[in-house]
Structures are given as structure tokens and as C-alpha cells.
Amino acid sequence: MYVQEENSVYLSISDISKTFQQDKNPPLSVFHDINIAIQQGEFVSLLGPSGCGKSTLLSIIAGLSRPSTGKILLENKAITAPGPDKSMVFQESALFPWMTVNENVTFPLRKKMNKKERAQSAASYLKMVHLSKFADHYPHELSGGMQQRVSIARALAMNAKLLLMDEPFGALDEQTRIILQEELERIWLETEKTIIFVTHSIREAIKLSDRVIIMGARPGTVISDFKVDLPRPRLQQDMAELEEEVLKILKVEIDKVMKEELQYAGSD
């Protein structure tokens, strides 16, 4: 019975923990006992206080780092390395400064497409993030928010089935953010991609996702995991109640982090 259940899961994260060995300080336990099962096509948001390990978890799913303990399977195969089945938008800018915007976006397509297809694909995703005019600019000539949009275009251009996004809309103004949220929702509805989306915005999480997972303060674990069953496109008034609830849970965790900070600062 158990085996069968595991088979139907697209991404299975079981009992993973991550501990960083540090040279001078004692080992840092980031999280432990994380168990998450994600179905194909699910849109999952990950919320949690700063430093709780969201980026760390994402990079483990991306195959860029290994969990200290536990097992992580994508379509029943252990994740050991990055691959064309997953693409990632990083929290910090990861554009190559020596390439133009266009060259950056076509970089992941080099082996898959010919020149013409690459150009078309890049152009369509740059258009989507409203940066067609900047195709021949270098990243440092763009603002932080524009760079973030290029990163999103680059990740989407890969057209991977699993899309990992680490605060992709963090540096955007409200207007652009809403436009891109709608675009992402549209792409997701059209393509059946599975999306794992890290954000600090409760509203964004509830607006976009099928499911919200909340991680607790470090060393933490999943403290809440629930479905969002609201009709799309989601309206402000429908979301308000849920927002309230999530805020309450998160507040407790953020207070914990703050208290620890204060204690540490006071102990010197």
C-alpha cells in the first residue's frame, strides 16, 4: 500500500534535515524532519521567517546541494544533480554580467534549440516580462527589479516541468508584481508545471497557490501545510480571512526569531 502511494507523488521529500558544518562556530542545524509530498501540477508556496531555510530547501530540491539526512525523490528518482527537468529563479541576481539580456535568456536553450527557435523563445519571454526593449543591454545597466524579471524570463524559457522560484517578485513594485503574478498564474494554468514558490508576502502566497506550507523558526520544520480552496482568479475579499490566519501563525515564529536575536545581542 505504502509503495503505491509513493508512486503517485511527483516530488517526495521525506525526513530531510540540513546541518551546515562551520569552521569556527558549532554546526548549524537549519531544519529537520521535513516531510512534503507534492503532486504534479501543484502550485505550492513556502512561507517562513527569514533564515528558516527556505532557500536551502529549494537548492536541495534543485539538486545543487544535498540534505544531511533523509530522502528526496522526483518522479521516484533520487535528486542528485540539477537537470533540465527543474529550473530555478534565485533570490539574488544570478545573471551573467558579461552577457546581454538576450544572451542570458538564451543560455539554457543552447543545446535544445537552433538559433532561430532560441531567438523566438527568448523574445516571447522577454516580452512577457516587458523587457523587449532591453534585450541588448547588459544586466548592470538594468535596475534590480528589471534584473529579477530577466531571471524569471530565463527560468521560464527553460520550460522545465518543475519551477523553483525564490522570492522572484521581491524587488518589484506593486503594479509590476501584480502583472507578473497574473502572467505566472496563466503560464501555470496553461502548462501544468509544478511550481514551488518562496515568498514573504502572505497575500501573494494565498493568491497564487493551491497549497501553502509554513516553516518555523530555525532549527525548524514544517509547522503548517494547508490547501487553498478558493476559485481563481482570487479576489481580495475571499482571501482576507485566510491571510489573517496565516499572519497569526507566522507572527509567533517571527517573534521567536526576534527574541533569540535580542537574547544573543544582550548576552554580549
Binding site: G63, L64, P82
Partner: protein, 254 residues
Amino acid sequence: MPVAIKRILFFFILILLWQGIVIAGIWPESMIPAPLSVAKELYLGFKDMTLVWDILASFRHLFIGLACSLVIGTILGVLLANNKTLDETLGSMILALQSVPSIVWVPLAIIWFGFGEASIIFVVIIGGTFVMTMNMRIGIKNVPPIYLKAARTMGSNGVDLFFKVIVPAAIPYAVTGVKLAWAFSWRALMAAELLSTGPGLGYTLSYASDFNNMSLVIGIIIIIGVIGSVVDQLVFQRIEKSVLKRWGLEEEVA
């Protein structure tokens, strides 16, 4: 006041001072020749082409030597950056060699290769190689990990990752390495040429000194300084600036 005018004024006053010292007659002309007699030596040297051949010969030594040192330095740098054991052993030796002034290699080169061009080129290669090595090494070691991670998620690894991401990311360091290698090679070149049997600027300088032609000695020193600064500013500073700009590393000058 524009920089150019400031500079012209400065050199004008310097030459006036120089002329003043000569007129005051504190030192004999054989030690401090007049500016005009230096100018005359230079004029004669260029007119009968001897100085032109010297400059061409020096540049030939420099180009061959520098080209070799850049190739060797790049290869060594890449090896050191990628192999820990090599870095801990050969790397420490190169660091030590880097602090040895190039002129020290001249006697050794003469014993191995004689007084000809081979010796000069050997010393020039030694002069540029180590600084290029160390810059290439640090450039590759300092590639921001986020670029590597991003590239790996986009299906790049191995040779592709190295040439498409690591090398371009290291270019700013490599360019600094090239600039320093040129400066070191240029100095090494002069040291080696002084003890060679010519042709070359350094050779002619020591020749002029042997014949007490102080005007030509100073004239050649001026040529060496002018070539050095012109090449540095017109070639290497420009390359460095445009690379830094392209890589987005140039600081905004207010």
C-alpha cells in the same frame, strides 16, 4: 585647467629647471648634459634610424616574451586554481618566484642562452609569467558561486561550464594580469637588454654609457619612460576600462 595643459606646463618648467642647473654649472656636462644636446642625440638617432631599429628590436623581444608568458601564465593559473595539491606546492613556489626581481635571472640566462636574443626573451617570459599565473588563479577561484549554481541548473557542466562561465567570469582578473605582466615584462626587458649584445634600447643605453655619451643615455631613458606610459595608457588601461565596464565592475566616478 585641462590635464593636458597642466602636464605641458609641468614638463616645460621641469626642462627650464634642468636648463637652469646646466647653466649654473654645478656639475660638468658629462654628468648632466643640456636638454638641447639630449634632443640633438635623439634627433640624430632617429634620423639615421638606429633608434628606430632599437625600438623595433625591443618590441620584438617584448611581444614574443609577453605572448609566451601570457600563454604559460594562463595555463599555470588554470591548473593551480583547479588542483589543490598543485596549488599548495607549485603555487607556493610561484609566489616565491614572483618576488624575485627579474634582473636576477639575467646572469643565469646568459649562462644558459648566451648574450643573444634568446636570453632576453627568456628573462621577459620569466618577468611576465608569474604575475599572470597568480591573477588567473585568483580570477578563477573568485568566480561567484551563484554563477556556477545558476549555470548548473541550466544544464552547463564540465568543459562547457568552464569555457562558457568560469573563463568569462574570470576575465576581469585576467585583464589585470595581462596589464601587470606587460609592466613586469617591460622592466625585465630593459634589464636583460642592458647586458646583451644588441640590438635593443637597453643595449644602446649601456653602449652609450660605455662611451660616456650621457646625452644619449638620458635620451633613451626618456624613450623608455614615454613608451612605457603610452602603451600603458593607450592600450592596457583602455582594455581594462572597457572590460570592467562591460562586466559592470566599473565604479561610477562622481
